[in-house]
Every structure is written in structure tokens, then in C-alpha cells.
Amino acid sequence: MTGMSSDALAARVAADLRDGWYVNLGLGLPTKVADHVAPGVEVLFHSENGLMGIGVVAPPGSEDPDLCDANKQYTTLRPGAVAFDSSISFALVRGGHLDAAILGGLQVSATGDLANWYVPGGLPGVGGAMDLVAGSPRTWVVMRHRDRAGRSKVVQTCEYPLTGKEVVDRVYTDLCVFDVVDRRLVLTELAPGVTTDQVRAATDATFETSR
């Protein structure tokens, strides 16, 4: 069984974005979602360091020293962009003014807990992750289904420190899509060529099927 490529996974997530949304993309896989927004769907991307409406990473030679994204890379702006301070930036986040936060994950639990900021033993760094999951009306996690060692990242209970408790609304992996409904995981979609039994074998958490 081979799951979706990163680009196919990002495209699958992007297909669920709606025209007019304001969206925050986390680092890593979520960043790729911006490359797959359908023509005619206008989405403004929020960067928590103080920008709404960021575009692609600045091409070499056109960087602006005052214009970086949350990954500290030089970025660009799209029409409709706004700059603001960190307090306003997180008023947008915490106040529920974004439509979705699309974040990477280390682990998602059977009840929708998310762990994505700290592997004990390393240097802790949280950034805006806890604010995003606390405030966004939709928290979507996009991640590989299993880690490099082949262990399920969709787990019964998170071992890593939580980013938020019962905050995840949907999980997109290279194998499938889960919705979190009343603190239960529901399998709603399979990646091309993947079966429910294969998902079951690859998943530590208990889940229901929508059919």
C-alpha cells in the first residue's frame, strides 16, 4: 500500500478551502497547501508574525528585509494584504476571525487531541500553535499517517505534550481523511487504492467508518 504523495495530499486539503476564507498554514506539509488552491477561489493566508495575505516565498533578488513569514523566510504579498502588530495578529487568531488553521502534527488522538510542538528531550518551542488551535473555528491537521519508524501518528492517546485538548476537527493523511465528531474519529474518505482494512492496520486509534 502506498499513500498519497505530499503534493497530492496538499491538493486534497486545498480542495476543501472555500472562496473568501482567511487561513493560517503551519510549517512543513501545510505550507504546500497554498500551491494547490483552485483558480477562482480567493483565500488570504495569515502569517502570525503580523501579515494577512502572504504569497509565495520571495524569489532570490526580490527579498524585502521587512517582509518575512512565520517561518522567518522572506515572503511576498498578494492584493488585499495587511500588516499589523502581534497583538492584532493573535486577536484575529484567538478571536475566531480566521476560517481555518491547517497544521502539521506529531500525533492526533482518538478524541481529537493534538501534539505538534515538542518532543521531550529537545529544545521546546511553541510559537503560535496553541493560540491557533484554541481560536480557530476549524483546526485541520495534515500529516503522514505513520512516522519514519512506521508507527501510527493517529493514536489512542498522545504520548507527546499536547498543543490542545479536543481541538482537531479533521485529519488528512496520505492514507485517508478522518473527521472528529463528538470526540470520536470517523473515517470519511480513503486515498486512491487504500482500503479500510489497510487504514485499520496502520492506525493505533480506534475509529468509526462513515458507512
Binding site: 502588530d85 497583538s87 495578529s89 510559537g127
Partner: protein, 248 residues
């Protein structure tokens, strides 16, 4: 007559003391007051409690303060450097890790006369329930951990009680300033800068451009009463811009 201009960064930082809590603006390389930080180093100040988003990037700015062991404690959201990690695990620097929105709001509250606030951010996590090592001992084991914070259910949702940050000094970087201390920032270089200035008893700003007699009232991002000293200096540019012979 109000005139907050001072001739250089060394003069502007005369009121900073070893042991001070220093709130420093900037995110990535945008909006970092590099000249003021260098002046703090030249003044040989130590034992600082630095409040900022990061432990620096590259080898200047806050990274220089850390490398020269001038930092006793860092309150930040994402320390993110090897040098800081080494000093943290080695027990020579203390860490207070704060979610980014909470850091912004604590600084804003510190400058706004707000005694405390409840936020949903971090509810149900180690940052609210305590236990993250704040300091390591010489044996490499945690010597102190963060305490649990007060929590309260409001409107059916758990919230965390957060207290303001009040700094002795703020070091900030703006794009344009005037003699009244009014400041205007540019793009993502605004970030924590206005909030750091608000939270501090003594707020010092470095700016690229002077606009006298004064900025347009509607073009000011941070009003002058929050700012004590302003110094006009050339901004420190990333090496990619230096190699290109400047920018703009």
C-alpha cells in the same frame, strides 16, 4: 519642548542596567533593534531577563546577547538556537516558554494597566498545568519547573489566567520616527515592537528615517507617549542585502 532624539545608540542606552528586564522587538530578522542590542553589549551589561519571540537568528541581535552570556532568563515563544539550547541544558540560562499570542497580550496588558486576563490558549497543556523545566542543574537534570497556572471555566470552556509583563526597558526598531517619539513601522517588522515599547518603563527606539517636524497623525502606529528616546541609525541588513550593495 519635546525632543526625544539622541545622537547614537550608546547614548540612548545609558539608562539600561545589568539585571534589567529588557523587552526586545523583532521576528526573524525583521524589526530587530540590532544597533541598540550592540550598544547593550558595548556597555557590557549582564544578567538580563530578555523578553522576545526568539533567542535570535544568525549570530547577531539576541543571539549575540546569548552567546556573550548576558542573558539570565529568556521569556519567549520559540528559542530555536543551538547556543541557547546548550546554555539551557547546561543550567546557565532560565527559560519561560509562552504561547505567541499570550506573549503579545501579556506585553500589551503590561503597558495598558490590565492586572491579568483569562485566555483559552494553552488550556489542557503542560504550559498551563506546569512541569516544563525552567532551569536545569549542573547535573543535567531539571532544577526547577514552571508552576501550574490558575484555571477557570468560562462559558463552558477552560481558560488560563495570565499576568502582564512589565519591562524595565524596551529596545525597538521602527521605520520612521519624529522628535515626539511617534513611530511608524513597515510590513512584518512591526510584530512585537509596539507591544514591547508599551510594556516598558523606558522605551528606546532605533529608526531608519526621521520625519520632522512630525509624522502625520493618521500614519502613526505607536504614539509618542509610549516612547522615551529615539535614535536614527542605519539598519543592520541581512548578508544577502549587503552582498547586493544595499536594498530599496
Amino acid at each position: 519642548m519635546i525632543d526625544k532624539w539622541l545622537p547614537d545608540a550608546l547614548t540612548a542606552t545609558a539608562g539600561v542596567r545589568s539585571g534589567d528586564t529588557v523587552a526586545i522587538g523583532g521576528f526573524g530578522r525583521a524589526g530587530i533593534p540590532y544597533n541598540l542590542i550592540d550598544a547593550v553589549c558595548e556597555r557590557d551589561l549582564t544578567d538580563l531577563h530578555v523578553v522576545s519571540n526568539n533567542a535570535g537568528k544568525d549570530d547577531d541581535g539576541i543571539a549575540r546577547l546569548v552567546r556573550e552570556r548576558r542573558v539570565r532568563k529568556l521569556t519567549c515563544t520559540f528559542p530555536g538556537t543551538t547556543e541557547f539550547h546548550k546554555q539551557y541544558l547546561g543550567g546557565t540560562v532560565e527559560l519561560e516558554l509562552v504561547p505567541q499570542g499570550t506573549l503579545a497580550e501579556r506585553l500589551r496588558a503590561g503597558g495598558s494597566g490590565i492586572a491579568a486576563f483569562y485566555t483559552p490558549t494553552a488550556a489542557g497543556t503542560i504550559l498551563a498545568e506546569g512541569g516544563l523545566p525552567s532551569r536545569y542543574g549542573p547535573d543535567g537534570e531539571p532544577a526547577a519547573v514552571e508552576p501550574a497556572k490558575e484555571r477557570r471555566v468560562i462559558d463552558g470552556q477552560e481558560h488560563v489566567l495570565e499576568y502582564p509583563i512589565k519591562a524595565d526597558v524596551a529596545l525597538v526598531k521602527a521605520h520612521t520616527g519624529d522628535r515626539y517619539g511617534n513611530l511608524r513601522f513597515r510590513l512584518s517588522a512591526r510584530n512585537f515592537n509596539p507591544l514591547c515599547a508599551m510594556a516598558a518603563r523606558l522605551a528606546i527606539a532605533e529608526v531608519e528615517f526621521a520625519r520632522d517636524p512630525g509624522l502625520d497623525p493618521d500614519d502613526i502606529h505607536l504614539p509618542g507617549p509610549f516612547v522615551d528616546h529615539v535614535v536614527q541609525v542605519a539598519p543592520r541588513l541581512d548578508k544577502i542585502f549587503v552582498e547586493r550593495g544595499g536594498v530599496r
